[in-house]
């Protein structure tokens, strides 16, 4: 089954529930089957399947959001700080990075997954999520930074002092 593993892993990381993720994947392939006449051979099949999955996910999320709202946005999109870059551990365990990702708000998490794991272009992400290109860029930047901040917490728990990193800010040759 093409791209099933990619879709399933993304769904799990966004829904945090294996059964919900499995339902979503089944819905996605079913929808793909029904609307296959709209797919143009030679175009990006993976992007098309992700687009369907996120369309279905939007409905699932609307249902879930009635019971829980997961939002930890610190500021508006695009208001990213560039100073005081969080220091991340040299060795990052799978478990740490997935736990850190889970703490990132889903609006940012989904874009980080699409850009960094699935390696879609900004344009493909904008089309998949039906949001403007500028929003993709700002949310990706914010999402990556949130992830680094969460990993910096891990670094602190390992006893790594972030101050040592920030001492070199602004240094040029």
């Amino acid at each position: 089954m093409p791209h099933l593993k990619d879709l399933y892993r993304t769904a799990c990381l966004l829904l945090r529930d294996r059964h919900e993720a499995e339902d979503l994947i089944q819905d996605t392939y079913l929808e793909a089957w029904k609307s296959f006449h709209r797919f143009e051979l030679g175009t990006n099949c993976r992007a098309w399947l992700f687009k369907i999955m996120f369309h279905r996910l939007h409905h699932v999320r609307r249902r879930l959001v009635k019971t829980s709202r997961v939002m930890t946005i610190d500021g508006p999109d695009g208001q990213d700080e560039v100073a005081a870059e969080p220091v991340v551990p040299q060795e990052i365990r799978d478990e740490d990075v997935l736990n850190a990702l889970e703490k990132v708000a889903v609006e940012f998490r989904e874009i980080v997954l699409l850009a960094d794991v699935e390696e879609f272009s900004y344009k493909e992400i904008a089309e998949t999520l039906r949001i403007p290109l500028g929003t993709v860029m700002s949310r990706l930047s914010r999402g990556r930074k949130l992830l680094r901040q969460e990993l910096a917490e891990v670094a602190r728990s390992y006893g790594i002092n972030p101050r040592t990193k920030q001492a070199g800010a602004g240094e040029t040759a």
Binding site: M1, P2, H3, L4, K5, Y8, R9, T10, C12, L13, E22, I25, Q26, Y29, L30, A32, W33, F36, F39, L41, G42, T43, N44, C45, R46, W48, D80, V82, A83, E85, V87, V88, Q90, I92, D94, E95, V97, L98, L101, V112, L113, A115, D116, V117, E119, S121, Y122, M137, L140, R144, L147, R148, L151, K165, G168, A169, G170, E171, T172, A173
Partner: protein, 325 residues
């Protein structure tokens, strides 16, 4: 105005571009500007390395998540069950039509995936070509190696402090091959630098080449030639009459290039990959930032432009030459 505040602003502006740089979404001119700055700014360079480390860790962690076999079966079952049902028992013909429809859709999806794999193939070929080009131009056409192997200290000196440590790895992990030369080189018309080891063995010349990834990736999970140990995947290609095996390691692409057989090159790459990866991933290696690098490791060895036009046949050595050489 002082220099510090000017540099800080420049760094701030560059850092705002780093996300797009990491995603390969910058225009060529802007990407070049970012690269130039990174070459001279240790702080921003470390920042980029940190971002790349997080991205690589995320890719690895997600790829390592298990997918239950039941998911595949459940999807197929749901597709089958979604066939319109009538109150009468469906005939064998209807079942056949239904299953044929599913088969058609799946075949079409596979066809679509094939197009994507072709794109993946092109990407892999373009990355593997980096290694083949350097091997052909520097080692084969340029003949930039001596008949008698250079002393290890001389090679280490040419490689500089950072890359000298790799010599031992190449020496130890390529059994039957002698390292004749190691240097940092580039191809005329390109700023890309290659850490190049030229070795001789099995009657021919073989190159081990490393070059910085600069944010590029081999397509994850596609067209793997062979899984190597330590979780590394080795990609194989046949380009310009050479067999090449390549893999990603830390911030580098590493290649083994020769005119040996595909199996031989793959086997050598598989033997080399884990140790090379371990060294490149090591904290001590990573700690050296590009700020220091640029000061220490200026291009030691630039291939003269003229060598690109020299056409020499691939050099093969026979055991008698090796013993007398």
């Amino acid at each position: 105005m002082n220099t510090l505040s000017f540099d800080s602003k420049r760094c701030e502006r560059i850092r705002q571009q780093l996300d797009s740089y990491l995603s390969n979404e910058l225009l060529v001119e802007t990407a070049s500007e970012v690269m130039r700055h990174l070459e001279s700014c240790g702080s921003c360079s470390r920042d980029l390395e940190s971002r790349m480390r997080v991205r690589d860790a995320l890719q690895r962690a997600v790829a390592n998540r298990p997918v239950p076999d039941s998911v595949h079966a459940d999807v197929l079952r749901s597709l089958r069950e979604s066939q319109p049902r009538s109150f009468v028992r469906p005939s064998a013909t209807r079942w056949a039509v239904g299953l044929a429809s599913i088969a058609f859709v799946l075949l079409s999806l596979f066809a679509a995936q094939w197009f994507n794999l072709r794109r993946g193939e092109q990407l892999i070929a373009s990355i593997l070509k980096l290694g083949v080009s350097d091997h052909l131009i520097c080692a084969i056409k340029g003949h930039n190696y001596p008949v008698v192997a250079n002393p290890p200290d001389e090679i280490r000196n040419k490689l500089g402090v950072r890359y000298a440590v790799l010599l031992q790895v190449v020496q130890e992990r390529l059994p039957g091959f002698e390292v004749l030369e190691g240097h940092i080189c580039s191809i005329p018309g390109s700023n890309r630098k290659y850490i190049h080891f030229i070795t001789r063995g099995q009657g021919t010349i073989l190159s081990v080449i490393l070059t910085e990834r600069n944010g590029a990736n081999l397509p994850n999970g596609q067209l793997l030639a062979s899984p190597a140990s330590a979780g590394l995947s080795v990609y194989e290609g046949h380009l310009s009459g050479m067999e090449i095996a390549g893999f990603e390691s830390a911030q580098y692409f590493a290649f083994v290039v020769s005119d040996l057989s595909q199996n031989q090159v793959l086997q050598l790459a598989r033997g080399l990959a884990p140790a090379l990866n371990e060294t490149l991933q090591s904290t001590a290696f990573q700690r050296l930032n590009s700020h220091v690098l640029n000061a220490l490791f200026k291009l030691r060895h630039v291939i003269p432009t003229s060598v690109a036009t020299i056409s020499r046949p691939a050099v093969r050595f026979h055991s008698s030459n090796e013993s007398t050489g």
